[in-house]
């Protein structure tokens, strides 16, 4: 059942910093409790992130992660019965959830549209750039990341992010316009994250403000203007192939695309 994987004990890796021992780790017999499982889950996720930032996916084993987390292999497999693959998927989901949580705070506390756009763009750009595991993967295993940024997968990422951000923006515009603008802002973040520009560092609030005021706000005005004069169906697209633009039920089919979406990177592609 349990995949053994490589049980390598690379001294370099053994010497790398570990998290302090989990006080709950010794009493693993009772670790079925939800709060403890949640705590272990977070420890294991963070340990996996630390391992990925040093060695990437190929060279990271379950043993490495358990050691880094200060828990036993048994605990790792109790929390993630699917082992390494399940953990990697969980890391993506968790990092996405963390990014969205932070974005939600920034978007929610904004008092006007400019602040929401600038805050969201800076927050997302900063987190993407500072993500060490992501940076390692972009550098050494780009194929792990790029697949999520191109064509249909990129469409999924745009959908997920814009469905999340749109309700925050709908305080200042119609829900339809908010969907468009949220998607647009996501495109902007992704473009400058994938191929950083020395002239347009979107982790810098001043530059992000400049971009928003110069390009985005006039565009929002024009969007509003054309919405008022044209009847255009802008319901969210149905599938990544967007073959059905007339689906009348917005936002119903997109929750299943919420995984694998934080594989934005910070610029090994330039």
């Amino acid at each position: 059942m349990v995949p053994e994987g490589a049980t390598g004990t690379d001294p370099d890796r053994a010497a790398a910093g570990h998290l302090p021992a989990d006080p709950g780790a010794g009493a693993e017999t009772g670790s079925g409790r939800p709060d403890q499982t949640a705590r272990h889950r977070v420890r294991i996720i963070d340990a996996t992130l630390a391992c990925l930032a040093r060695h990437g996916t190929v060279k990271t084993t379950v043993d490495d992660i358990a050691r880094q987390a200060g828990v036993s292999r048994a605990t790792v497999y109790r929390v993630f019965p699917g082992g390494r693959d399940e953990m990697l998927a969980a890391v993506v989901d968790t990092e996405m959830a963390r990014l969205f949580s932070a974005l939600g705070v920034r978007l929610g506390e904004a008092v006007d549209l400019t602040e929401a756009l600038v805050g969201g763009i800076v927050e997302a750009s900063t987190r993407i750039r500072g993500h060490q595991a992501l940076a390692y993967l972009v550098e050494h295993e780009p194929e792990m990341v790029l697949g999520h940024l191109a064509f249909d997968e990129s469409d999924r990422l745009l959908t997920t992010a814009s469905l999340f951000a749109a309700p925050f923006l709908a305080r200042w515009m119609s829900p339809m316009e908010a969907g468009r603008v949220a998607e647009w802002a996501t495109r902007i973040v992704l473009s400058y994250a994938i191929a950083p520009s020395t002239h347009m560092d979107l982790t810098d609030p001043a530059r992000a403000t400049h971009l928003v005021e110069t390009f985005v706000l006039p565009g929002i005005g024009a969007l509003h203007d054309s919405e008022c004069t044209a009847t255009i169906d802008i319901t969210p697209f149905e599938s990544p192939g967007h073959t059905d633009q007339t689906d009348p039920t917005p936002q119903a089919d997109h929750t299943d695309h919420t995984d694998h979406t934080d594989h934005t990177d910070q610029g090994a592609m330039s």
Binding site: L157, L158, S162, S191, T214, P218, A222, S226, M269
Partner: protein
């Protein structure tokens, strides 16, 4: 590009179309091009890796050469962008080789395509500069910055249309006049001199 190199690239492309990136070898390309392996290596000293990178670059260049042709004769910046986006979208959707390789071996194609996309972005930006100069950018807008921004956005919509139906000329006209040009050129925004005209042609 000299003839032999061109012939080898076309032959390699034919092999990739047939068998995919992973299964295409220098030998296949040589046979298809009717040249010796030594000739392939003379043109592509890095062998198979260099050949496959070169064929992605070549196919990208072909794509943009057709795109360039398609926007010739456009009378305004708006028309250039509308034609370009619609053509690029159609071409990508209908590009059998690209779609097949993306389905079966994206991990092989994407790194090369990503390198290309940086070159392409600069190419699009340079292409747009004269149109922007002629049209005149809005007050306070830096020409180069605007061209780079537009190129990034065009690439983004090309590869992922999101909520936009890029086969619909009305939507594309709306996209070009809002998210792309509204802040960049004078008169594209709401209420500006280009506003009513823009809406008229978008109908």
């Amino acid at each position: 590009m000299d003839d032999t190199r061109q012939r080898i690239l076309e032959a390699t492309y034919a092999c990739v179309a047939r068998w995919g990136l992973a299964k295409t070898t220098v030998e296949d390309a040589a046979r298809e091009a009717n040249v010796s392996r030594a000739t392939v290596y003379r043109n592509f000293p890095g062998g198979r890796d260099e050949l496959l990178e070169a064929v992605v670059a070549w196919a990208t260049l072909e794509f943009f050469a057709r795109l360039y042709e398609r926007v010739q004769g456009a009378e305004s910046l708006e028309e250039v962008m509308e034609r370009g986006i619609m053509f690029a979208h159609r071409s990508i959707v209908e590009h059998e080789v690209l779609q097949r390789v993306m389905q079966t071996e994206p991990e092989k194609l994407l790194p090369a395509l990503t390198v290309e996309s940086n070159r392409v972005r600069r190419g699009i930006a340079e292409f747009l500069v004269p149109f922007l100069e002629q049209r005149g950018v809005a007050a306070g807008v830096d020409l180069k910055e605007a061209a780079d921004f537009l190129a990034r956005m065009v690439l983004s919509y090309m590869s992922a249309p999101g909520r936009w139906d890029l086969d619909d000329p009305v939507q594309v006209a709306q996209l070009v006049r809002s998210e792309l040009l509204a802040g960049v050129v004078s008169g594209a925004g709401p209420g500006g001199p280009g506003g009513p005209e823009a809406r008229g042609s978008a109908r």
